[in-house]
């Protein structure tokens, strides 16, 4: 039953509504508390739509049923007039409603309920009462408390009228329907609670995902800041020191170190430019999101090659797109592994193999550098712990094979 007071005040909770999975309107805003979830749900366009069509379905099922049973019984002659009259009221009312014409909700309710009550009473068949518990359950689910009480009163009144019409009280009959109505009402309330719980869970899940995204953004900023700190700033500091040394030597009239200092300044500047290019590459529009993991890794490897002169090799199998989290993880771990190659490996070659298959994705970054003792794997300088944590967050595994003088192989597998 559509509630006449359906136009409740609803805060702009578009975000929540979209998390409900069936909202139609995108409205900016947010919600957090269960009360806000409930308010948003009850006020949502989807909820109104569901409620309206449920009533339509109910009218569509119950009215013909009532009509059939009314005709099936032996009726006084005027009933043959009453049934088409009732149908002639109910059907146009809903045609009008569904055609979008705005008219009083109360009139719609009256045009639906009253003919049904009438048909029920003249039908004298208990099956006609089917629509009453449905009405009560629906109001319990979607209506206000007042509407729920009103539906119960209406149902009780119909039963009382029936008893009055039949001029005898069958207490079992009254008890049966009373229990039925109460049960239907509580079923409606329980269903409503379930729907709200699901909405809350969805909201929590989305909030958790949003927080995870925020954390990822923050981590990325910190990583870039650390990179700037460790690479470009160090290089600039080196340049400043060489300039200082050159200036002091010249002031002493010592020209000897000048050529060396100038060469170092030039090389360090080139190094800083390379670092800067790499960092700017990371700040470019998200190639990962737009073109996928293989394209992003290939571009990254090219940037590494351009910066360092390393010989690089890229092998890719499969073109399946993965979940964003998995792609992000594979990319970041590869990035960190390549950074390690640049900083620590003193390698001549680095190869990157990516295999995207149904169910899982594997990535391997291998270099022919100096390697290291894996028992030092926890060393913060190599960022291995972060790589492992990042991998485990998406349910993947990270394996590092290395030995002094034998290069390093970082193997990563994540569920797709």
């Amino acid at each position: 039953m559509s509630a006449p007071g359906a136009a409740r005040h609803v805060p702009p909770l578009g975000e929540l509504l979209s998390t409900l999975g069936f909202a139609r309107d995108e409205v900016p805003g947010a919600a957090g508390s269960p009360a806000a979830v409930l308010t948003a749900f009850v006020g949502s366009e989807t909820f109104r739509w569901l409620r309206r069509w449920a009533v339509v379905a109910m009218v569509g099922i119950v009215t013909p049923l009532t009509v059939i049973t009314a005709y099936a019984d032996e009726m006084p002659p005027f009933h043959h007039l009453a049934v088409p009259l009732a149908v002639a009221i109910i059907v146009p009312a809903w045609v009008l409603e569904l055609s979008g014409v705005r008219w009083p909700r109360l009139a719609l309710i009256a045009a639906t309920v009253l003919p049904n009550v009438w048909l029920t009473l003249i039908g004298h068949d208990n099956t006609n009462y089917l629509w009453l518990p449905l009405l009560v359950a629906w109001v319990g689910f979607s209506g206000t408390r007042v509407e729920g009480v009103a539906a119960l009163v209406l149902a009780s009144a119909v039963i009382a009228l029936d008893v009055a019409v039949q001029a005898r009280v069958v207490w079992a009959f009254v008890c049966y329907w009373t229990v039925g109505f109460l049960f239907a009402w509580f079923m409606g309330l329980a269903l409503r609670r379930q729907v709200v719980l699901v909405a809350e869970l969805r909201l929590l899940r989305d909030q958790t995902e949003q927080r995870a995204r925020q954390v990822a953004v923050l981590e990325e900023r910190q990583r870039l800041s650390r990179e700037l700190h460790d690479s470009v700033t160090q290089a600039l500091y080196g340049i400043a020191l060489y300039a200082e040394a050159g200036g002091r030597a010249l002031a002493d009239g010592d020209l000897g170190p000048t050529a060396t200092n100038l060469r170092e300044i030039g090389e360090t500047t080139q190094e800083a430019l390379g670092e800067m290019r790499l960092l700017l590459f990371e700040l470019r529009p998200p190639i990962l999101q737009e073109y996928g993991l293989a394209a992003a890794l290939r571009a990254r490897l090219q940037a590494v090659e351009a910066r360092s002169g390393l010989v690089t090799e890229f092998l890719s199998e499969g073109d399946k797109r993965l979940a964003p989290d998995a792609e992000q993880t594979l990319y970041r771990v590869a990035q960190e592994a390549l950074n390690n190659v640049l900083k620590h490996a003193h390698a001549g070659r680095v190869s990157l193999r990516l295999a995207l298959a149904d169910g899982h994705a594997t990535l391997e970054v291998a270099d022919d550098g100096v390697g290291f003792e894996p028992s030092f794997g926890g060393a913060s300088g190599f960022g291995l712990r972060g790589m492992r944590e990042r991998t485990e967050r998406v349910g993947g595994t990270l394996r590092i094979e290395s030995a002094p003088g034998a290069g390093t192989r970082v193997h990563l597998e994540v569920p797709a």
């Binding site: 700190h229 460790d230 700033t233 160090q234 080196g238 020191l241 002091r248 002493d252 200092n261 060393a379």
Partner: protein, 142 residues
């Protein structure tokens, strides 16, 4: 001007620990312009630094706080525990680690990027008679 040019000058023997080779070279280039310091060794991480200190027994260690394998803070703790007379100057871009470095026993913290005279000032009060050092080492570069 280097210590080698001043045979009678007190020379402070110095070790540089920094994970970036270019930074080590740049520091040694600057130190070479100032008489009274002799660079006796370099280290690329905390463990190398400890081993070098053990082997070379420098007067001063300039030590980056963030290094792989054994970080600078731990290295400072261990150096100061075994050789408290060695002056340790923590030198890092990570200014947020200043308090940690000093708490670990560093005698001074000089942020990377600070004017070079601050670094020299942090290195000076070691190993020589102060008056002699001051008289012999006038600042030659403003």
């Amino acid at each position: 001007m280097t210590a080698a040019h001043h045979p009678h000058l007190c020379v402070r023997r110095l070790l540089i620990a920094d994970d970036r080779a270019r930074t080590r070279r740049a520091l040694s280039a600057v130190l070479a312009t100032r008489a009274g310091f002799e660079l006796i060794g370099e280290a690329a991480d905390g463990e190398e630094a400890l081993a070098a200190v053990e082997r070379l027994r420098p007067d001063i260690v300039i030590l980056d706080v963030r290094m792989p394998r054994l970080d600078g803070i731990t290295a400072i703790l261990q150096i100061k525990a075994r050789w408290p007379h060695i002056r340790v100057v923590a030198h890092s871009l990570a200014e947020e680690l200043r308090a940690d470095a000093l708490a670990a026993g560093a005698d001074a913290f000089v942020p990377k990027g600070a004017p070079v005279h601050e670094l020299f000032r942090a290195l000076e009060p070691v190993g020589c008679d102060r008056a002699e050092a001051d008289a012999s080492l006038p600042s030659q570069y403003p």
